[in-house]
Symmetry: D2
Subunit: 139 residues, 4 copies
């Protein structure tokens, strides 16, 4: 592969610009993988003491994006084409979330990755996602 990936710091800066409202913290990026922390806030909670499904979907999406940027560099027009998420256990309301992504394909046009989501401090999977990004042709 001739891609030059972006560093963790470059990706964090890019996210801060492109998604100023994001509460995603890039913990690790590179080697076809990424770990992203989502700082759970009031807006993410649901009555009953849990984190909303859309919060986890957004985390899955950004973890996949970070893993791809870490592999191919900052390519802004890279966009999600599909995402499948399975919700497995109720996440804790009082813990941040971690999304751990592993790329399973990095082609010229499509990248596919899987994301495991945990409540911080627990090794139980709360959700699992698989998603695809389309990579623009000329860059």
């Amino acid at each position: 592969m001739t891609h030059t990936g972006a560093s963790k710091t470059e990706i964090q800066l890019f996210l801060a610009q492109e998604f100023p409202q994001s509460r995603a913290v890039v913990v690790e990026a590179g080697q076809g993988a990424a770990t992203v922390q989502h700082l759970v806030g009031e807006a993410d909670l649901r009555p009953g003491g849990t984190v909303s499904g859309p919060t986890m979907m957004a985390l899955a999406d950004v973890a996949l994006y970070v893993a791809i940027l870490g592999a191919i560099g900052i390519v802004p027009l890279t966009v999600t084409t599909s995402l499948t998420i399975n919700f497995l256990r109720k996440p804790a309301a009082n813990a941040h979330l971690l999304g751990v992504c592993k790329l399973i394909k990095l082609g010229q046009l499509l990248a596919v990755g899987e994301v495991s989501i945990y409540s911080e401090g627990s090794s139980d999977l709360v959700a699992h996602a698989v998603g695809t990004y389309a990579i623009p042709r000329k860059r």
Copy 2:
């Protein structure tokens, strides 16, 4: 089916209580279907003039939830178990989104529905989702 569904007004009130931060407006609910409008705000936009993927995922999720509540009544512990979304076209940044859900299965334990997402004023599909909710056993 012996379920008694919730009315559009009941569902809107329930969403306002359970998801106070939601900007979902129940346009229609009943007959195994639902139409939900998402009022696109600043936080939903991405640079380049489009609506973020997670905004569409959240709309797909709520449209499916509204269709189920319209069919079985207000059953708060009904939770998403899985969602698959395909992003098809860039939604307009200056239009609200509509999610049109049709239930394709309403069983004792699982409900499955598909959701078509449009930018208001356009008949082009911007995203399509299929999702499953688990319905609690005793109610």
Copy 3:
């Protein structure tokens, strides 16, 4: 769109050559849609009197393929990149299956379609699938 689609007869001949073991009959193709009949045989049945899941997955895949060929012509290297299927009801063992596909995106590189599967003679959906094909770049 500048694509010239293949006719129903051209597609049936192509399937007979490329998939000689297929029992798929092209009922309709064109206008971004297709209907394919699968002739249920002994090998498709499961004890308990129903049709196997993989039989339905294969039908969803071929119905999507036929809809794409009907839209872009015979492009042999067009390949499935992903498929999501939900099984909704037990199909009858003594009826053939129909897969009705509607394309929801036909791009330069990716085509996405949804497929509704029925037992012939019934209007109850037995399965529903959404799938993506990658279309080769130069043709």
Copy 4:
């Protein structure tokens, strides 16, 4: 968990009875995981020297089933409710396939697992699937 799983031999016998036409060989089962070999035959091949998508879907489905039976015992009415598969690389035509399943949820009613598919002798993932089975309520 109070389930008593089935052994590899019990599962292989059960598959031989329930799916006499299957060419699935149970390599390992237990500990919430399974490895299943699919003996690639003529009917699985596609022109161009590769294995058909439906063959891989069927392998994903059976690998998940074997992992579940290894965890809960022989429960015949356990049925697939959904499956999402991503095709990542062309499998070799002259190698058998291996499906390696890991359960990511084993609930009372639903089991979810992911399956990695390889051509034997290669460590490159050719496909990846995530699927859900519904487990009958009383057993």
